[in-house]
Symmetry: C2
Subunit: 196 residues, 2 copies
DNA sequence: CAATTAATTAGATATACATCTAATTAGATG
DNA sequence: CATCTAATTAGATGTATATCTAATTAATTG
């Protein structure tokens, strides 16, 4: 399910009147006037809410004579309600954010790092920035503690604006700082990993 | 869970930015500036959204130095997301709507039905109205088909405004009408049942 | 086809809320 | 205590939306 659909589903349930309609429909189909009467609201208000519920697919309509009965599709409701828990799964929208192939990452590096190994500029696009940060941070040793001067010196070897890079490493959780001493965070915390 | 809490939970998820925050936090805790940077938004905007998420309990905060890390409580998220499916269960909010003891129903009947068995007036409060409608509708036989005149005659035996009562029985699904012939709906469809 | 009933549309109103900038608070550190 | 950084608050702005009344459409039936 794509993000937009998920948002609309929860928007649909984010209203007391619509939840009450769901409750009514749990006990079986009902038509508009009956719903309006039970909730103490006017028919146009029910039309408004029902159409939002129908848009998500969790409610559908069946005509009988000139009365329209609204039914709750409990399976759909259940499926969509649980979607938020499945967010991390493959083929979910998460992947759009941060999954890059090694090839793509290499391309980004090639675009921003000169032949002499220096960083031409810090990418402004988040995804690219993270790749670059990951690329250069790998030269620290896991578990080793560095003082600020050491970190600065290393950064200067490939880019002049050491303050920004240092700050980004902390902010993006590649590194951890305590009492001005720096060390790598565990790789699991990195927003992007970089395997050569 | 009470209705209000459920509504607020879904309201909280009914926004693309907040869903994106959830996605980020699924990969581990993050602090405000990092979230702002990843989403391309300003810190106050993040404060705004995070506080809505915290209100529901699905996100909590832990301070480390002067950075505040926000954590996702997946168990709470999962519990609340599934609440909509449990709506019908006992001790849920449904019961507030329509569960009356036989005694309470009898009291309502006593208040609205005179000693001679006539309906004094149609209750305006929904709950009471349904009890009265159920009370009088029981005299029809299950499965038997009535024509409109028969229905009217029966209603007149206890109340003058037969049109209203007849219409309410249809609207509230105590009865079903087809080609001006009337019959009782199955008791499962009644919004209120009445056992003597 | 005229009358009835159910549902929807149109348009108005009032409230909620997502986002921003600017200013402020809170903690940590030199 | 002065400075830095992170987070929050305050206040403004524009958009979204819940509800209503009045008017209209759709289907059924005498």
């Amino acid at each position: 399910m794509q993000l937009d659909k998920l948002v609309h589903f929860h928007k649909a349930l984010g209203d007391a009147t619509r939840i009450r309609i769901i409750i009514l429909l749990k006990n079986g189909p009902l038509h508009g006037l009956a719903i309006a009467d039970r909730l103490g609201l006017r028919p146009p208000t029910i039309t408004h809410h029902i159409s939002k519920l129908r848009d998500t697919g969790m409610v559908y309509a069946r005509r009988e004579k000139n009365t329209i009965y609204f039914h709750l599709d409990e399976r759909k409701l259940s499926f969509m309600a649980s979607a938020i828990m499945r967010l991390g799964e493959v083929s979910e929208m998460t992947e759009k954010e941060f999954s890059l192939t090694e090839k793509e990452k290499q391309t980004i590096v090639n675009n921003f790092v000169a032949k002499d190994g220096k960083l031409k500029q810090i990418p402004s696009q988040l995804k690219k920035k993270l790749v670059i940060l990951a690329y250069f941070v790998r030269n620290f040793e896991i578990g080793k503690v560095y003082d600020e001067k050491e970190v600065n010196e290393y950064i200067k070897s490939f880019h002049e604006d050491y303050a920004t890079i240092r700050r980004e490493w902390i902010m993006q959780q590649f590194m951890y700082r305590e009492n001005n001493r720096y060390e790598l965070n565990p790789v699991e915390m990195w927003p992007v990993t970089f395997n050569e």
